[in-house]
Symmetry: none
Subunit: 238 residues, 4 copies
């Protein structure tokens, strides 16, 4: 079952709120301009990557003055963010399978497919790159893409806690960083392929852990040393 995408994710993320919807004096903004800019940006992004998407060429290809672009989006990153959203958001699904494992697998696989099977993947990588050098874009990215998505994923974990599948003490953020961090890792470094199988594998590992603890009668021995190691060995090596 596909749940709708939160509003913030829909479109025009980087744009200013543009205040009142209408009744402003002067010539109204051409809706064509905005969409042709977005189309040009999307096309360029797909063709040459974010680095090749210069505002100059976006404007030229959209048949629009540069000022018109800057009037709507404050920076290249913001424009790219919106172009990305158009490609990305519609491909994300939030099925409710009734189990934590199912929900997580569905979330990760749909993310992974959006990233590998559409133009969104390279846009996403480019955006994260751009956000490293543009703090404003980093904020916009977090507020308008990252957090809304994370909110949805946190809900999956909350539901599992509510169902009693997992303990209430689980740190949802840490779990999500593990799950999605692994996917982003392969996306950004490209050292290994990003597949459905990998997504499922990630879910399995996070839920079950690496050590199956074949039998765990006196399981205390597992956690106690672990807890001790938690802080001590860290200090040892620096």
């Amino acid at each position: 079952m596909v749940i709708g995408i939160p509003e913030g994710l829909e479109a025009e993320v980087g744009r200013g709120p543009q205040a009142e919807p209408s009744a402003r004096p002067g010539r109204p903004r051409s809706p064509e301009a905005g969409s042709s800019i977005l189309a040009a940006a999307t096309a360029l992004l797909a063709e040459k990557g974010l680095a090749g998407m210069s505002m100059e060429e976006v404007a030229a290809r959209a048949g629009v003055g540069k000022a018109t672009v800057y009037r709507r989006w404050p920076s290249r990153g913001a424009l790219a963010l919106d172009a990305f959203m158009g490609e990305f958001s519609s491909h994300l699904a939030s099925p409710d399978t009734g189990s934590l494992r199912g929900d997580l697998t569905a979330a990760l696989v749909s993310w992974e497919r959006a990233v590998t099977m559409t133009r969104a993947g390279s846009m996403l990588a480019g955006l994260i790159a751009e956000a490293q050098r543009d703090p404003k874009l980093a904020v916009a990215w977090r507020q308008q893409v990252f957090e809304p998505l994370r909110q949805r994923h946190r809900a999956i974990i909350s539901a599992a806690v509510a169902r009693g599948e997992i303990g209430a003490g689980v740190d949802a953020d840490a779990v999500l960083d593990l799950l999605f961090g692994a996917l982003y890792h392969r996306l950004l470094h490209g050292h290994l392929p990003l597949t459905d199988h990998f997504a499922a594998q990630v879910v399995a590992l996070v839920l079950d852990g690496v050590a199956p603890r074949p039998a765990a009668p006196a399981g205390a021995e597992d956690t106690a040393p672990a807890g001790a190691e938690d802080t001590a060995p860290a200090g040892a090596e620096d």
Copy 2:
């Protein structure tokens, strides 16, 4: 116990191998020039980030002609890569604690500390960003930083398998993507802090899993399917 850093990590990563150590005709390259360029690059990187490190200013600050910079490093990214290595590699430790948990915790914490407590952190983020737009740099990054490090970390897991701590069927790459993916995730998105505690938490989660599987007496049905799920269900969606 701190083990030495693998060779590939040491220095001059972006530079060509320069073949034989000498006996080339012509004036040999000045070692001073090379190191002053690297120093200038490192300083600029720390001051203004990768985007602010222009080749122009690196050359000026190093008291060197631009051609001298380009003779040694083919691109800004390659230079930044070497500058990063100088800062980063010496801060990584590889203690041998005797346990998988201890080894992993030590590895993650030392990485986390190198990244948060030295200039290497922002360099690292900038480099990964740059690698998204410069495929040559991406290759250099993988070959000269990523893979050597991963090799070391894979050895930690192999040792654990050899000791019988974990089963031989564990996919080391997937495990490492989980562990380090989580750290990179926080580094690149900055949504939550990157602490010693988080590093330890990540190790604990990956080793033990989210679900403590409350008891395990009747849990047979829990673990068996879980073990099966490790690989099987993933294949179902692919």
Copy 3:
């Protein structure tokens, strides 16, 4: 009596015709930028000569981006040509003295003075030098400086023919090449000074010839064979 300078000589020689005076879309070119560039170029030309007038420094001194310079002038030579015109054209006179000798002397002396007494002299030499290596500049030079000036000088000779001072068969171009060639010769080689006296001497020699042949009733036959040699002996030595 000083006659105005022909239009082509006035200014902006290297620049495109700039078409209609206005009504073009887009921001019009700043007239200030153009004139400050020209001023900077003129100053640099006078200070360091054409070789020292780098586009880089012209732009910097004019407080203007390099692209703004290149938008107006396609090359260093074209810019120098305009800077030269500004200095040179206002110093040329075209008096009408009523006699060929008087007109030519006035023309040569005013040229000689413009060249020796203002900054125009070294600019002129530099421009001719530059035109040797830049064919486009050579064309611009001929069309926009050389030919307009020569037209005026040809008119002096035509007027003398009309007055019956000299025969109609005189080759005006050859005569002008003699007259001005001599001046340019001293300017470019600097082997002897370029003075008012020399200018007058040149006119006298061209009008009267070297051999006054005081009375030459029988002497004429001496020259006749020489006239036969006019073409023949040349073939002898190559």
Copy 4:
């Protein structure tokens, strides 16, 4: 009759005198290197003009280190000067025809042919251009090419004075500036062709003058105009 070329014109003009012929300690300079440099310079000069003759490429094409070039010639201009001499000097003739008109015509025509029919023409123009920006080259040019040649031409006039063809009061330098100035003028500005005919025309104009000399009340005016016509009708057919 062809007279030998003065020594200064022969070769290696730009080079220092190199003092004693030998007995210097150290390895003697390779004569091959010198000649291959000169050959490479000549070829490049002919191919691309002086502006395209970079020391870098001369050295590379000659299979020689740059320092070897600079050891022999202090500047690009000096090298070009020697390359030019090699092409130019052998083409100049100094026939003794017995008459001023004949000698001058021969001198001018041989100069004109050397300039238009060999590679020397564009080299010459380029050298004069270069000399405008390099004072040392200007001096070398004057001392080693210009003055020796002028000396020879001055001798033609002196001989005519001695023969009584012209008066002793003639300013030989002014006459030569007229004669050769006209040729250089056409060479450097290229506004009209440089032909045998033009050379002869120049001689005629300078010897006879443009004006029929209204004085000469006696019948001399019959022959004098005839002498003048010697050149005037020539002008008609250009």
